[in-house]
Every structure is written in C-alpha cells, then in structure tokens.
Assembly symmetry: C2
Homo-oligomer: 437 residues x 2
C-alpha cells in the first residue's frame, strides 16, 4: 500500500476508453463488411516472429525502429512492424493450402519505436487488403474498387485517388538514359507535393544534368485529363509500354463502372519504395488534404521472394486506422456512442432483484440491449448513471407494477412515461421511438 | 535468391488460415453481441507495458513466463500476459473519466512463454468481462448470467457451472483454527477433481493434523442439492457468514430467473489464487468434461490496489477462446466456412471486363458478397476456384447475354441454370435458394 505503482502507459501507446473503442470497432466492422462483399477472407499471423523472418536482409530505417529481443529460448525475435512482411511469409508457408488468386484482409496492430515528437504512435492499427497470384488489370482495378467502396461505406464525402504506374516511370527513365540512383530519384519525385517544383528541380540536378532533371520534372508535373496525361507520359517515355497499356485497360474499367471521376492520374506518385513494380496509388480526402494519404498501395510482383522461389505477383493497399479515425473525427462523421445499452432497469426493491433480471432477459430476447442497475441506490444515482452511459430508456417496476405483472417505461430523452404496460408493449414502444429518433 | 529464409513461425505461435479465422471472428462476434446485450462496453489497452506495471511486486510463476526486454529508450517493458492486470491499471488511470459500476469487455491476445509440450500456446486469445465498482449479489449474479448467455449463444448444448465462495471457505478455515499455509491449502483443494480424495488427503496431512485434514476433505466433498450443501458449509464454518448470506441471495436470483438448474455448488472450486475474495466459478461442458473449464472467474475486492488507494471491488470472468474453439470443433458446432462469397462472376470475355465489375457492384448493392474472377482463364479453372472457395453461385455473361442486358445464373450446388435473366431477378433467385438451403 505504501508504494503505489504509477498506472502509466508507455510513450506512443494508448488506452482506448469505451467511447473511442466503440467507434474503432464500428469502423473496423464497416471495413470488414466491405472487404467480405468483394470476396476477401480474413487471416491472422503471430505478433511475434523470428527477427530474420521480419527483416530479411534488413532495411536500415525499419531496423532501428523494430521492437527486438531475445526470448526465453535465446531466439532473436521481434514484434511485427507492418502486415505486409508477415503476409509474404504466410503466403510462402501456406501456398499449397490456398487457392489462387488469394484475396485476404488483415486488421491488426503493428509496432514501430518511432519518434513520438512527430505525433506518431508506436502502437497503431493497419487494415491491409491484397490480391496475390495474378498480374492482371482486373486485380489492379479491384483493389481500387475496394478502396473506393471502403471509404464510401465510412461516409467520407469526397475522395480523390491519385494513381500512377511505376512501369511507365521506369520506361521513361530508361528512355532518358538514367539507370543509376533510381531509388534516390523516386524519393525526390515523391516529395513534389510537399516541397514544390523548385526544390525538386534543385535536388534532381544534383543527381542528373539540368536537361534530364527538367525532363523528369516535365514528366511528374504533366497536367490535363487522365487520358491526356497518359498520352503525354507515353510520349515522354518513348511510346506505349506494357505499363501504359495496363493503365489504359484499368482506365477503361473505371469508365465502364462509371467511377472514372474519382481517379486522378498523378505521375508524381511513386510511393518511394523499390518494392512496387506496377500501378501505385494514394488517397487524399478533399476536405482534409493536410492529413496526407489515408489509403495507399500498389502492385509488387515479388511478394515472397525472400522466402520462396514461387513467383507471387500481388497488388494491395493499406488503410491506417488511426489516421482515418482522426480524419473521421475532424469531419464529424464518427458516431462516438457512450454505450450500446437501450434500457436500464431501475433497481428499487430488494425483494424484486431476481425479477429485474428476468425483465432484462425478456428485453434481450426481443433484441434489445438491457441492463439492471447493479446496486440498490437512490433513483437519482441510477438516473445519473443512465445519463452518463447515454441510455435512452428506463424501466421502473415497484410492488404495484410487480403485482399487476406490468412495468412503467420511461423515455429519458423525451421525458415521457408509459405507465403500467407489459414488457411486450414496452418492447414495441422502444422500437417505435428508436426508429423515429 | 540463393539464400531463402525459411518462412517458419515461432514454437507456440500460429498462423490462422481463412477457414479458422472466419470461425474465430464469428465466435468473437457472438460473444461481443452477448456482452453488449448486457450493457457491457469495449475497451483496449497497449500490448506492451512497463514491466513494473504488469508484474507489480512480481509473482514467481508469471515472472518466468513473461516476454520482457529493454526498449530503445532503455525502458524495462513486457508484453501483457493476461487482460486482468492491464484492466486494473486502466481502472486506476481512468477512474475519474468513467462511471461506476463500470462493465467492460476486452477480447485480445496475450503472451506467455509456457512449455509448449503440454499442448499450450504461447500466443492465445482471452475474452474477459468484468464489473467494477460494486460489491453486490446483483453483480455476482450478472457475471454468471453473462457466462450462461455467452455459451448458450455459441450453441453449446449442456453446460454446468460450478460455483463456490471463498469467503465461506475462509470462515471455515478460521473456525478450524488454520491460519498458515492458506495459499498452499487452496492449491491442494483445487486439485480434488484431478487427483482424487486420497491424494488430497495425503497432501493435506502434510500441512495440518489428520483431524483437520479430514475436516477439510469433508468440506470440499460435501454433496447434495445446492441448498443442502450450502447448509452443510455453514455448519462446518461455524454458522452463517457474510459469504453464505451472499451466496443465498445469488441462489434466490437464480431461482427467480429459472436458471438454477445450471448451477452446482461445488466447494472444491477455489481457483487457487490469493486474488479472489468472494464467489468463484468454473464452467465445464457436460459433453467434454476432459477439456477443463472454458469459462472461469470470481470476485476480487482489491482490483487496483497496487496502483491506487481507491477501493475498486470487482467481479469478472474469462473465456479462453482457443480452448473454446477446440471444444466447439470437437462438438461439431463450429461452422468452418471457406469464404463468405455468394457469387462468382465468370471472367470469359476480355471486352466485358468492366461490365463484370459493374454486375458485381450491383449484386453488392443488393446485399450479396460478389467477386469477379480476376483472370481470363478457362471455365474449368474458374469453377475449380469457386469450389475451393465454396462459392454457391456463378454468373455467366457472354456476348449474347450482354447484348440482351441479361445474365445466366448457375446454382453450383444444385447444378441448375437460370438462363437469360436480369441481375435483379438473379438477386431474388439467390436469396430464395440461400434461404431454403
């Protein structure tokens, strides 16, 4: 007792109180329902893995951020830092138990010991969805459709998806005679929206001559309609390429499905990573451009190459749940319910305790969420409890009601009473009022 | 390429393939719906915490099993080994933001580096539900009701819950003049069902004289009806006590709600831990007694005492999801769906790709889960895919259908075709057949 331990959490980690957790769960449910409606199936993988499996040959930045240690058996283990690497390992391990194309989703937490000064969390939730086993425009288009359907289902009003294709960009660089510093060029190009044309030009001329640098700038800042930009990119990269043909087919599918308005061809989108080989995309909310991309991804054609010789082309996308939650809160489209209880049964007569629970049980059988106040306190305390939990109805059952086999229903929002009615009548009343509200 | 990394998982850890993960999610959903119907709300806490926060003064056994390491900032951190300790910390940290009684549920993974030889997992999922802030028979009874409702909702046919009360047992030991080795006695008594009366007697006589040992055995093996046993326990412990009065009230509520048949008063249930102070319970499945308790818990009246001076009486229970899943599989009550897709749209004409996606989109709007096969392969391959994914319907749309604005629906289970119908007609057909099936 003398030495209390301070109940604090680690920096970058968070408790989720009911109000937030109810919203998080609702958002996850909406996303899962959307993923399922496209035939995607859920998987799960361990949170702890062999470090070698997660890092492979190791990529500098991630390496430093990973939570890594020796376990009881002296094994070098680490907590996963994304859901892509475990998925690649999963595909390599289970390819013979699965059918292709394999479409999975995975919503779970990941950990990175990032600098929390930048408002980043060290524990955060990702929602990944991928299609593995085919390299087709259908698969590329489907991921875009799932992204669109997911954000629409969440009630986000205006979305624009920026699309680009790494294959065309690579053909362009080749046509230009650039073969070195590709990763560095990708990184610079990706910063266009953030740092502006002048700064990009300055950085590019440190890598290539002024002529080539201005060509790159011309490529990534090409303007016009989707089709005009695509034509321009083809011209700049020496004519049609498999990449530009693929993008044309995907474009046709957008038009056929009447959702072409949502997509912007933005050649400056490269996603920075070596990893991507085809189509890439980022999604910005028109109402909140400053929040960054809430849903990004692309095609990678060597998913599991560090674990398996089997080729596994894939295309996928990832939604950052925490960033999305922040966006939804700012847009005011998140519900923030305090509880899901419909009815509180007031606990007023010690002799009727058992009866109160059987009323609650009847209400539950009728599909309502009901709870008995778990202590015989003053009415005032019980109604305060209902208010704090935002419970819309209360049931009163004193000796008179009990003897008559009835209850009194209180509509706490409208402050109206329905006296001496049966539980069945109360159910009908509650459903009527809830529907109207 | 030369050096492939083996895609293996750590011992005691598992991948969940879609079939298993779909079941796990369905079970979790059923449990969550039940918890909500009782007015419980969800919370979440970090998976990584300060070791001091999780271990407190340290409990030998857990200490050795915990995944513990120094993070980047040199902090001594650990992965949570249960959901009770983080909940206690949560209550101490947020007591002023919450209302009491606070009823929460939490379904999440926990980690223990246990010996995997005994068929134990090192990563497993717990479903905890607790009521904090009241020490009343209503709260004790409600947890029992939630346990019963949860297992019933999962379709488990015959359940018996073993109930006991630590307060009565403590009064009995005091009456007997035993005040030492209480923890040791609890541990021995708890083993009655496993090791039998003789062995328990032998172990008890090592701690107390033969007379006292046989009194303890008499107490823990008391037989008869609930009320008869309760009377006997009162007699053995020197008359009525607050514990026996509490149990009587809870018993009355069971009778009032007509669920008294489900509960057995079993004085050998002690739950072993010092932690519990009142009612304790374990749940066995009549059909699978060997699997052990699938849902256990009890009253603890000092939940957060290592973090806070505020008294927080609580009562709660925990369901081990992995053990429960194993039980449901053995009972054959788990569904094992391969996917949730209702319709596969056959991808047969390269010119109609976009059209296939708009058919899928229409089916989704009608509430069906639909997917386009993502490659133009032979019919045979596409139907094999449908079979492996257990998709019950397929849509065919060739040039003729497209020109007529129609489709052909195939019922893959009944092997029946509905030719040249509209998408709307197909939706009605699918819903009709699915309902009948």
């Amino acid at each position: 007792m003398a030495n209390l331990i301070q109940p604090k959490v680690l920096k970058g980690f968070r408790d989720f109180l009911p109000e937030t957790e109810i919203s998080r769960k609702e958002i996850q449910q909406t996303l899962e329902d959307t993923f399922k409606s496209f035939g995607m199936v859920p998987i799960d993988t361990p949170i702890l893995e062999y470090t070698e499996v997660l890092l492979g040959k190791g990529s500098g930045e991630t390496d430093k951020q990973i939570y890594r240690f020796d376990d009881h058996g002296g094994r070098d283990v680490a907590m996963r830092f994304d859901l892509t690497v475990p998925f690649a390992r999963f595909m390599a391990a289970h390819i013979n138990e699965l059918y292709l194309p394999f479409k999975r989703y995975h919503i779970s937490k990941v950990w990175r010991g990032e600098n929390t000064q930048r408002g980043r969390y060290r524990e955060f939730t990702q929602c990944d969805f991928d299609i593995v086993g085919v390299d087709t425009p259908e698969a590329d288009f489907e991921i875009l459709s799932v992204m669109h359907a997911s954000l629409t289902a969440l009630g986000i009003p205006e979305i624009h998806m920026n699309v680009s294709h790494r294959g065309i960009f690579n053909a362009f660089l080749e046509h230009l005679g650039i073969s070195d510093d590709l990763a560095e060029i990708l990184r610079i190009v990706d910063k266009l929206a953030k740092i502006g044309e002048d700064k990009v030009m300055e950085m590019l001329t440190e890598l290539a001559d002024a002529d080539k640098a201005s060509k790159i700038l011309e490529y990534i800042s090409a303007g016009g309609s989707f089709d005009e930009i695509l034509l321009k990119l083809e011209q700049l990269s020496g004519g049609p390429s498999p990449g530009s043909e693929r993008l044309k087919t995907v474009r046709t599918m957008m038009v056929d499905c009447g959702i072409d308005d949502l997509f912007v061809l933005n050649p400056s989108i490269t996603r920075g990573l070596d990893y991507y080989t085809g189509i890439v995309y980022e999604t910005f909310l028109d109402a909140l451009p400053g929040i960054g991309s809430v849903c990004s991804g692309g095609r990678y054609n060597n998913l599991a190459s560090i674990y398996s010789k089997t080729e596994m082309p894939g295309v996928g996308s990832s939604i950052g749940l925490d960033r999305l939650m922040a966006a939804l809160e700012e847009l005011g489209t998140v519900s923030a319910k305090k509880s899901m209880t419909d009815v509180l049964i007031i606990n007023m007569d010690a002799n009727l305790k058992g009866h109160y629970f059987s009323i609650a049980s009847k209400l539950r059988s009728a599909g309502l969420n009901a709870e008995v106040f778990l202590d015989t306190k003053k009415f005032k305390n019980q109604f305060t409890f209902a208010e704090r939990k935002a419970i819309p109805f209360a049931v009163i059952c004193g000796e008179d009601e009990f003897k008559a086999g009835k209850i009194t229903l209180k509509d706490l929002n409208a402050r109206e009473n329905y006296e001496m009615i049966s539980v069945d009548e109360a159910v009908i009343k509650i459903k009527e009022i809830s529907k109207a509200g």
